[in-house]
């Protein structure tokens, strides 16, 4: 009887969890068009214990800073975030990311619009770690005007803002090569991309084999960066943007492991307590 009820309980829990997951998947959007086969990469951060690869994130940040940055901002990221624990430029010697020289150098490369406290006039100054990535355009209207009517979206939460976002990002950058069917007609300033909703995208292909133009440089001594192929750049950028969208992943998973172990032990102890207390009922009355 006891085993039967526990079994039923577990089945009920399993069915509930499975149906929730099923609904979550069923609620997802449509797949890519025109026979494009999504490449499902195995990402470093997948699984119960996976976390981001620091060097891949650093290379990915390079790609962002040299390529994507010309149009796309990281609205929700401050420079100091780059030096947070779990971030691409974390250094354990600098628990406060504002002291991290790599972060300071990156921040200083950006111009921040500020106010002159003396007279209130607008000035520009080099960035400090506490600054957020400065907007690229003064406003959305300017962004649209410069980009042929299209608004380059913020990339800091992009990997979370699409179903299966990491694969989406990676495939979107690589899918320009896919042959364009005759049925799709493009307006000027549009490009064919089967991963994009509607297969039309305003962003030209960005990652091309650019020998001599873009090479991975290492910020750390003794590190041999891989060759900057299109696939490698797309994967590294995705790694960086995945971190940017979910920077607390490592902290979350380690807290998760502790919680699960704790709860499982507690469940076993409570089960034993439950059996022990209910066993009283089997003893003869007054015994």
């Amino acid at each position: 009887m006891a085993f039967k009820t526990v079994r039923n309980f577990l089945i009920a829990g399993g069915v509930a969890a499975a149906s929730l997951t099923g609904i979550a998947i069923a609620a997802g959007g449509s797949g890519p068009a025109d026979g494009y086969e999504m490449i499902h990469k195995h990402w470093h951060w997948q699984g119960m214990t996976g976390t981001y690869d620091k060097e891949a994130m650093q290379r990915g940040f390079n790609v962002y800073a040299n390529v994507c940055r010309s149009c796309h901002n990281l609205d929700h990221l401050a420079f100091r975030h780059l030096g947070d624990e779990g971030g691409p430029f974390y250094d354990e010697r600098f628990p406060n990311p504002n002291d991290n020289p790599l972060v300071k150098n990156i921040a200083a490369e950006y111009e921040i619009t500020d106010l002159n406290p003396e007279d209130g006039s607008e000035i520009t100054r080099p960035g400090i770690p506490a600054d957020y990535f400065p907007p690229i355009y003064r406003n959305d209207s300017e962004a649209r005007f410069v980009n042929n009517g299209a608004l380059p979206p913020d990339l800091s939460v992009m990997v979370k803002a699409r179903n299966n976002g990491a694969d989406y990002m990676y495939n979107l950058l690589l899918a320009y090569e896919h042959p364009q069917p005759d049925t799709v007609s493009l307006s000027p300033g549009q490009y064919y991309n089967p991963v994009m909703e509607g297969s039309k995208i305003a962003m030209p292909p960005q990652l091309q084999p650019q020998e001599g133009v873009f090479e991975y440089q290492s910020d750390t001594e003794g590190q041999n960066p891989p060759e900057a192929t299109v696939e490698q750049m797309a994967a590294d950028l995705t790694e960086f943007l995945a971190w940017s969208a979910d920077p607390k992943l490592a902290e979350r998973k380690s807290a998760g492991l502790m919680s699960m172990v704790y709860l499982l032990i507690l469940a076993v102890l409570l089960w034993l307590a439950y059996k022990r207390i209910w066993r009283r009922l089997k003893q003869p009355v007054g015994g």
Binding site: T5, T21, I23, K160, G256, A273, I277, W278, L281
Partner: protein
């Protein structure tokens, strides 16, 4: 079933208190409350739901300290909570996943009541208070989903408040009064935040009434035969406190799994895009716990009729105690009704599936054609209402229930489980 209080205040202070505010007596009576000894794990969801409400209120109050209810800052403030507030990622995820877990538990609790006939006399008021709690929960969840100000927040709010615009004559004015303007905007966000903060405390108050009503009638039980002799029940503590704590822990394992490993699996990616009133998402879909009602809403082409159907789907629950004509509570002893119940559960899941699908897409493909989600949703809606309005009233009159055990004690003896016959029938001294 509550029976006379057995609490004896010890000492002068306790006696003084007991004659003025017998709160210690109430706690003691809760602990000794006679509870049917044959309750199974489906009866643990009450305690689980209490925990869910507490988690939502605690995490919600903390989130409220950091959240900014303004259309220009709401989305960014949620990102700030997830990135910069210490353990903000945990609070925000626990609140969002917690909402799903709350609904998961409440659906389990409701299906249990439906199967075991817990809504029947003398528990009609207990059931109706429960339905009220569910209704306020739905409102709270909807209001809360608007607050992160993502695309689904905005467009979900636009669609739902649009229902009020379909009310004849006063609709347009009513809609504008609710929104505080012509469209979902800052005034809407502010009032939704205010109400989202208020309603959980109304749920807490209703839960108090729910528990009060429970302590008047006592718990129902899997065989649906009321407790008659002393051996039918056990004191709530320690027998059911320990069992509930075990079940709560198992539930928390499922909760923690989603919270730590799949925090976004139950939400929509679109809600990570900041609300844009000029850009409608391709599919506006509610959260999973509203999908069955969304399918009922879309089951008819007329907007007003759809809304009435959806409201009817909830309203019918309130009158269920008078629709079910069978005197037998538990479906264990209703050989035909249990099959109809089984299909009812299946159709609820199908409704959820239809709610998630695009109406014109094929749910089931047969050759070139098939059954669209629209048709399947209609069939399921028909069954949903037929179950309450036709099947239960008629079946109660014509069905031949199988023989029920005379008492809970007898049922346990029949199942060959603890305790042994001669020992249990001796009145406990």
């Amino acid at each position: 079933m509550a029976g006379p209080s057995t609490y004896e205040p010890k000492g002068a202070v306790m006696r003084w208190m007991d004659t003025r505010l017998p709160i210690v007596r109430m706690g003691a009576d809760f602990m000794t409350f006679p509870t049917p000894r044959n309750l199974n794990y489906w009866w643990t969801f009450g305690g689980i739901l209490l925990l869910c409400l507490m988690i939502q209120i605690v995490t919600g109050v903390i989130l409220g300290m950091h959240y900014v209810a303004h259309i220009d800052h709401a989305f960014d403030s949620v990102q700030r909570i997830r990135r910069d507030v210490p353990y903000g990622w945990l609070m925000q995820s626990a609140h969002a996943v917690g909402a799903s877990m709350f609904f998961l538990a409440v659906y389990m609790h409701m299906f249990r009541a439906l199967y075991y006939g817990s809504y029947k006399a003398p528990r009609e008021v207990l059931w109706i208070i429960g339905c009220l709690i569910y209704l306020v929960m739905m409102a709270t969840a909807f209001l809360g989903y608007t607050l992160p100000w993502g695309q689904m927040s905005f467009w979900g709010a636009t669609v739902i408040t649009g229902f009020f615009g379909a009310v004849p004559v006063v609709g347009e004015g009513l809609q504008q009064w609710l929104l505080g303007g012509y469209a979902v905007d800052n005034a809407t966000l502010n009032r939704f935040y205010s109400l989202h903060y208020l309603l959980p405390f109304i749920i807490a108050a209703l839960s108090g009434l729910h528990v009060w009503a429970l302590h008047v009638t006592g718990s129902s039980n899997p065989i649906g035969v009321s407790s008659k002799v002393k051996t039918d029940t056990l004191p709530f503590h320690p027998y059911f406190t320990v069992k509930d704590m075990f079940a709560v822990t198992v539930f928390l394992i499922i909760f923690a799994f989603f919270l730590f490993y799949l925090p976004d699996a139950l939400g929509h990616a679109d809600n990570y895009i900041k609300a844009d009133p000029l850009k409608t998402p391709p599919h506006i879909v509610p959260e999973w716990y509203f999908l069955p009602f969304y399918a009922i809403l879309r089951a008819v082409p007329d907007k007003l009729a759809g809304i009435l159907l959806m409201l009817g789907a909830i309203a019918v629950l309130f009158v269920l105690p008078w629709l079910d004509t069978s005197r037998v509570r538990s479906m264990r002893f209703r050989p035909i009704a249990r099959w109809f119940f089984f299909f009812f559960v299946i159709f609820c899941f199908i409704l959820g599936w239809c709610g998630a699908g695009v109406p014109d897409d094929y749910a089931i493909k047969i050759g070139d054609g098939g059954i669209t989600f629209y048709r399947l949703g209609q069939i399921s809606t028909l069954y949903y209402f037929a179950y309450f309005i036709v099947i239960l009233p008629i079946l109660g009159l014509i069905e031949d229930p199988v023989e029920r055990p005379a008492s809970i004690t007898q049922a346990i003896l029949d199942y060959g489980d603890k305790p042994e016959p001669e020992k249990v029938l001796v009145p406990a001294e």
